[in-house]
Subunit: 532 residues, 2 copies
């Protein structure tokens, strides 16, 4: 009879989950024993890094991914990253070792005392099997559920002595080989109603969200916008973990502002607002106002029941984004509305010294390869990058949708491992680096040829901007003097380039992108927010 | 009428909580506005560092300490450190900002969606006030509860718009000025029964735990051991977050082994086992055997009801450790038992190249100042340090009782800030550093003259040792090549010294300890565990 370990690794193999991220402890050793040679174990030196890498890998590969953590303190260190994975709809099977069953009730050291409650409220499901022989079925349950809509992290706690138990071979085969498919198209009658509303609208608009990219629906979204002559806004940046529409497309308008009043104002004049693959809406600062322009109606298509339920306005269809867009297209004629005015492209940025972050992003845009991928965590220049680079290929942008820092640096390693042939540029602030800084070690250890572009402003710039919005003065802790990320990265073995003017930035980026090893380009930038 | 912010800072001031640790985000800015000049804000660059520093500060100062985090992702990043604080019985008032009340129900970005559940199961109490004007009372509740036995972390979630509300001045004064004292002596009748059992025992023994130090009971523990001629063991190292007995005392025997069978064997021959200020017991590897030697009885004194309730054997008194030891001493005569054989002192360590970690610790012992403090996170050499250094002053040793990594580096900064006149040496492995590496920045920014002693073995040595114990072969992720902590620390602005032989180690440590700035001494050591 196979052991729990053999059956579990068969499950992972059968389900295409052979790249595993982890930080091991004693409670995980029995799981990792005799690690099979067709699997890859990617070591992170802190659990926020482990889950961040797994999140990037899961999103960029489209596969449910295992992140293996060390009992309670390991899960604890990862909780911020699990928050991000939940917001990103990232399918993760998170496992953690647990004390031997004989020592759980007496709470020996490193017992995960309340293992099931530990990762709440950030996971879809959390479980510890009641018996050793149930471990493969529990892992199958978790793996399937993580990948079902809404995709997201699940957690299974695994007592360390369970791996040696034997399981019934026939039962195990049943559990291991199941296929579960959760993609479903919205009710054809509801799709027809939406098609009629859209076609009958005088001035409809589309809002493109991250789940267009996650469901591989770019072509459908473009076809819909073109056939119906829809102007298209990207969902507000805080929720835009991925891009759902080419930002150089003539119909593209820009990124919606992230507050209630300004969203309403921006959408004025539209009578029907179609939101695709986004929450409604990822607001951040509280600027009150009408939720919708006068007379406007809103319909959202989302695969996340909670996004549909919690929205403060509008109707929603809960179904797979791609399948439902495809069904909608079948019901929709070519519109006779005039095409939207073609978008103007990026604003010109006047020269400055030190460089404005926007200028840095123009330099990046100049050398950015066709198939490049940006992983972004530079809160002061998110909009500048979006506006200047106009990324326009699927799977070319990853950002922490929930607003938690620590995703970017770690996720870039996972994205590069999932897409080894596409150049990855991680654009990040020196403050953001610190939430997952040891990811530099993994970048080197796994020979990922990432380019890290550090925009260094010596402050938490977005907080100074918020302080102005919130009329706050005299708050401590907003400056970051002497935080020399280039030197720290060199300490981790990364070649770092310190550059100051735009030509140097462009050349250093060009060389780093072409290099086959991870390199870092550090640019001092002007303080403050870069919005354009 | 005072605002919520004014009343809350008056509370902190009145309760002696004027040093605050934090990593700010937009949701915390209104709290931090016009930060009062008699307060100190200590910035950490990742939340695991913030809580680790606060934990060290709280333990070394004896004061309940505020750690201010950034809504859900900030609390998430800190959860591993909160696990440690709980295990350490560290009194922390953890607060986090929350979205504006108007945007919580629609779950705007950075809403802490299930704020109260978020830090469970690691806190004693978790709360979000129902109205803005209740914030000062909620903070008072949390501050008092954190400091009551069993000490530990509590959590209060604070909507960002609450700080401007006004509170009733008289009500606020009542909440702000309360004094709550939870130290209580065990029932005199129960103390008398214990005194009689102890005096009547043929061969009693004492096990000293961390809460002797936390309750300032060293002199009582020493008096008890001497008056009753008790041999004294330290509680197993995984639970020994602090020292409860001088390790150079003639009655001191050593550190108990951490597994069931070996503890029983070690205590053979004793008929009464008195455990003071410890759980019974912080076991780690599962090595079965009788819980107690044949015929032995056990009594524990602890301030933690859960420690008392969950122990698998023995009786317990739940009360303040110091007061109860003092009461016990009043009831106890000088024993006529012979004094225990005086302990032998440290084992000699044969020379080696590279150095054995034990040899490194002999060098540290040679130059360690009388009033020095060790903060320890070197899993391969915990026992070597204990055995070689024989630390023998109260408040001179801090270690993560729960076994979670990431405490040591961060806590050393907090300990140094709480004890600015005592030299702090943080002894740490290069793997352990990575769980809270950005603490180096805070060490520099706040001019803490810590000596970081890095024992570099290029592996997770304790895991290789556990793999042998668990008969595991072929596990990945146990080696740490090219992890150059000295270079990383230099990147953060710390002067680093790379030394190899024992005299160099001693001299570098001597100079670093005397220096008024943080310095790091890195020593390559032989792989494997150092137990003596």
């Amino acid at each position: 009879m196979p052991t729990v370990r053999e059956a579990s690794f068969d499950l992972f193999r059968e389900q295409g989950m052979t790249t595993m991220f982890g930080n091991p402890g004693s409670t995980e050793l029995p799981m990792l024993a005799d690690f099979p040679s067709d699997f890859r174990y990617v070591l992170g030196l802190q659990e926020a890094v482990v889950v961040g890498m797994a999140d990037g890998y899961a999103q960029a590969s489209g596969r449910t991914t295992v992140a293996n953590l060390h009992t309670a303190p390991g899960v604890g260190n990862a909780m911020g990253a699990i928050f991000n994975a939940q917001a990103n709809h990232s399918p993760l099977l998170i496992t953690a070792g647990q004390q031997a069953r004989a020592q759980i009730t007496l709470q020996a050291n490193l017992t995960n005392r309340d293992a099931i409650r530990m990762p709440h409220p950030l996971v879809k499901w959390s479980y510890e099997p009641a018996r050793a022989e149930d471990v493969p079925l529990a892992l199958a349950h978790g793996a399937h559920l993580a990948g079902l809509p809404p995709k997201g992290p699940v957690f299974v706690s695994l007592p360390m002595d369970d791996w040696y138990a034997e399981v019934d071979e026939a039962d195990a085969r049943e559990a291991i080989t199941r296929r579960v498919d959760g993609r479903a198209v919205a009710d054809p009658a509801a799709v027809r109603v939406l098609a009629d509303r859209l076609d009958a609208a005088a001035n409809p608009v589309m809002i493109a969200g991250p789940d267009i990219d996650a469901s591989d629906a770019w072509q459908d979204a473009i076809a819909l916008a073109e056939r119906q002559r829809l102007p298209v806004w990207a969902t507000p940046a805080p929720g835009g973990g991925r891009l759902g529409f080419p930002e150089n497309h003539p119909n593209y308008r820009g990124v919606l502002p992230p507050a209630i009043g300004p969203v309403g104002q921006t959408l004025e004049g539209h009578d029907l607002i179609l939101v695709v693959g986004s929450s409604v809406f990822p607001y951040y600062p509280y600027i009150p106002g009408p939720l919708l322009p006068d007379g406007a109606k809103l319909v959202a298509i989302t695969s996340d029941p909670d996004e549909a339920a919690r929205a403060p306005m509008g109707d929603a269809l809960v179904a797979d984004v791609k399948l439902t867009l495809a069904a909608l297209l079948e019901d929709l004629p070519e519109s006779t509305r005039p095409a939207p005015e073609p978008n103007q492209g990026p604003q010109e940025i006047p020269p400055s010294d030190p460089l404005n972050p926007s200028t840095v992003h123009t330099a990046l845009a100049e050398v950015f390869p066709e198939d490049g991928i940006v992983v972004l965590e530079s809160p002061t220049s998110t909009l500048a990058l979006r506006n200047q680079m106009r990324l326009s290929r699927p799977g070319s942008y990853y950002f922490a949708a929930g607003g938690g820092l620590g995703f970017g640096l770690a996720a870039s390693v996972g994205v590069q491992l999932a897409q080894p042939d596409r150049p990855v540029v991680c654009v990040i602030g020196e403050g953001s680096v610190q939430y997952a800084v040891s990811a530099f070690w993994s970048a080197v250890a796994y020979k990922t040829p990432i380019t890290f572009l550090v925009v260094r402003n010596e402050e938490y710039g977005i907080l100074k901007w918020f302080a102005e919005v919130e009329q706050v003065e005299g708050a401590p802790g907003l400056d970051l003097p002497k935080l020399d990320v280039a030197a720290i990265a060199e300490g981790y073995g990364i070649a770092a380039h310190r550059v100051k003017d735009r030509d140097e930035v462009r050349d250093a980026l060009s060389r780093s992108i072409a290099s086959s090893q991870p390199e870092l380009v550090e640019v001092p930038v002007a303080p403050g927010m870069a919005l354009f």
